[in-house]
Amino acid sequence: MKFKLRSSVSVVDSGNNILEFFKTSTRQSVKIKTKDDLIKKLVLSLDGERDFDEICSDLKINSASEQLKSLISFLEKKAVLSHDDLLRGREDYIPYGRVIHFLEDYSESDEEMLEIWERVRNSRVVIIGLGAVGTWLAVNLAQSGVRNFVFIDNDKVELSNLHRQLLFYESDIGRQKTDVVKERLCFFEEDVSVDSYNMFLEDGVLEKVSGKVDLVINCADKPSVDETSRIVGRFCMKKKIPHIVGGGYNLHLSLIGQTVIPYESACVNCFERQLVKINDIEGKRIKKLNIKNRKIGSFGPMCSLIASMVGMEAIKVLSGKIKPDNINRRGEFNIYDMGISYKDFDKLDDCEWCGEGR
């Protein structure tokens, strides 16, 4: 038997008989109490090359002791130790090793790590809107190993898109966005499968998507984010598909949208009902004044910052193991103080979509 102290784990002797294992990728810490300096020596000898029994006998440790066995199994479960041999020789290890090793922090064994990886690898994601958030997200997910995409967008590339939408070159101006994104994703992964729907999101469009869908991400703001989110929400609740309200686009530049796990977390309708209250709209007569010749600002790095967070949430959902964080809340990024603040929302018992109001 061979064990390996995972490369991403740093070991620190914090004194007072505490040995700390720090997972550098996710900044998680695992601590054990041990009076025995031999345990530290043993762990620091686990290089994945030498046989475990041999290392133990060198250190004069009884490798068959129950206590040692339970310690090793604990450290394996906590993703401090691995067997390593499962990874070697895998065709996808060289391009995606970094992603696979990231997932190890959430796995109780190498077998589970590969199960999570395969889930991500074989998942199919619908991205609605290939703009300032959707384009970044498509690349992020492809680089994280996702191979199957459905894109819904009816726009063609314009010069004014290039300052905030990734993947588009000057020579692409006038081309259908879905075509360009598909072509560019093939730069990263030959084996990518893309189904494109060159249409804007409206009722009935999502129903056209055939085959399994693991996640729908709404990055569309035409005619409005509220409206597209409602369409996405309603469809996904019916089909029980997790969905993420993107954020980061027109009028929602700094919004970190929510992740919805149908019937487990607050749905789009739960959010909407509570937002009306928060915004103090109820009972007031509010009229939007019309402003002539209006143009809306947009800033690429803000959009991509939000896209990066949506990308992280998406991997959590697709992993089937890592708990998404933006359920029952949505956040805002403040460009002045560069801080994030979240507002919590409840899953409403009497929700017309997911509660008793159904």
């Binding site: 992603v99 004014s160 990263f188 700094s254 009229k287 004044l289 910052l305 967070m309 460009i335 560069m338």
Partner: protein
């Protein structure tokens, strides 16, 4: 002060609502700031006259027709308040930028205008970005991202430095990766990518690594701002080298985060003699981590086995670009509001900041004032 003969308009990035017919609510959509005023009906009419076509004089004349009791002084007072509150701005009659730039960066200029108060200042800010020469040391995941994001935002002059070539393992990390680029020098692949985004971009390329023996004289003479994304042997080492060179020459620089052991870290902007420099950070971390000494790891070749997602790199590079553009374009008073190093947690999605100070005894930036 309002000029009675110029033309003003409500800023494009503001939603205006009328609440219960007695409050005007101005909502800054990009920054989510909300300003609320109690008003009378005359002011509602006044708002609708600030349409980018009327001068304050015209507005007054039309208001007084309908509300004879309203005085000229009151009208101008209201307009002045709106101007100072950055709710209205002067309409530009002569543009700073040509039509090509205006159509390409229109939306971003609009975003800048919200910070700067006028369209003219926003166009000048865009011009500044276009003219700034950026040096990137280390053109991998984070360095490559930052170059691409700054190129998209309008930067046209880059000096790129990296000694490595693209390989298959970059597929999950580099935005400029493509299978056809495997084996090519990273600086060349990145340069090609930048020029496809914007054919006006000019790049200078250096195939050098960054170490104590590297002569940066030529590099430094070609740039106004430097981004350090070189992580060999490790980030703190190259960051220190760069601050040593840049601080005495007063060259602002950004120490990027985002890679092994710095996943989704924000990195930090270094403005010489204003913010803590890389050496101040080293002193801070030495003290903070003095009891935190990692043991020698049994695996020799750990680097290739570190984890990471490209979304985490994108967080770091996006954060860096926001700070860099804020600084170059003067969007905020960055000398007062610059951020120190922060870390974004994949678990929990929270952003935590550290609080190092400038070290008064710093060998690199200590003792002097700007």
């Amino acid at each position: 002060m309002i000029d009675p003969h110029k033309i003003y308009k409500i800023k494009d990035s503001i939603d205006v609502y009328l609440e219960d017919d007695e409050y005007i609510v101005c909502y800054f959509v990009n920054t989510r700031i909300r300003k609320r005023f109690k008003i009378g009906t005359a002011v509602v009419d006044l708002f609708s006259l600030i349409d980018g076509e009327n001068t304050p004089e015209d507005i007054y004349l039309q208001i007084v027709k309908k509300y004879p009791e309203i005085e000229r002084g009151f009208c101008f007072d209201v307009l002045n308040k709106l101007l100072n509150g950055r709710i209205i701005c002067e309409r530009l009659s002569e543009h700073v930028l040509d039509d090509y730039y205006l159509s390409r960066y229109d939306r971003q200029i609009n975003y800048f205008a919200e910070f700067l108060g006028s369209e003219k200042a926003a166009e000048e800010a865009q011009q500044k970005l276009i003219n700034t020469r950026i040096g990137i040391i280390g053109c991998g995941s984070v360095g490559g991202n930052i170059a691409i994001q700054l190129a998209m935002a309008g930067v046209e002059n880059f000096v790129l430095m990296d000694f490595k070539s693209c390989d298959l393992s970059d597929a999950s990390r580099h935005l400029f990766y493509s299978r056809q680029e495997i084996g090519n020098k990273k600086v060349e692949s990145l340069s090609r990518c930048l020029k496809k985004i914007n054919s006006r971009i000019k790049t200078f390329i250096s195939y050098s690594g960054f170490n104590p023996k590297t002569d940066l004289t030529d590099f430094v003479s070609k740039v106004d701002f430097i981004v350090n994304a070189a992580d060999e042997p490790y980030l703190g080492f190259t960051a220190n080298l760069l601050s040593q060179i840049c601080v005495p020459k007063r060259i602002p620089h950004y120490i990027a985060g985002g890679f092994d052991a710095h996943l989704a870290s924000t990195g930090e902007l270094v403005i010489p003699y204003v913010t803590p420099c890389a050496a101040c950070y080293s002193t801070f971390f030495e003290a903070k981590l003095k009891n935190w000494i990692p043991e020698k790891h049994p695996v020799d070749e750990r680097v290739g086995e570190m984890g990471g997602l490209s979304s985490m790199t994108l967080f770091s590079s996006s954060f860096a670009c926001i700070e860099i553009i804020k600084f170059i374009c003067g969007l905020t008073d960055i000398e007062k509001s610059y951020k120190k190093r922060g870390e974004f947690y994949f678990d929990g999605m929270e952003l935590m900041y550290l609080d190092p100070e400038r070290d008064p005894n710093c060998k690199v930036c200590g003792g002097k004032r700007k």
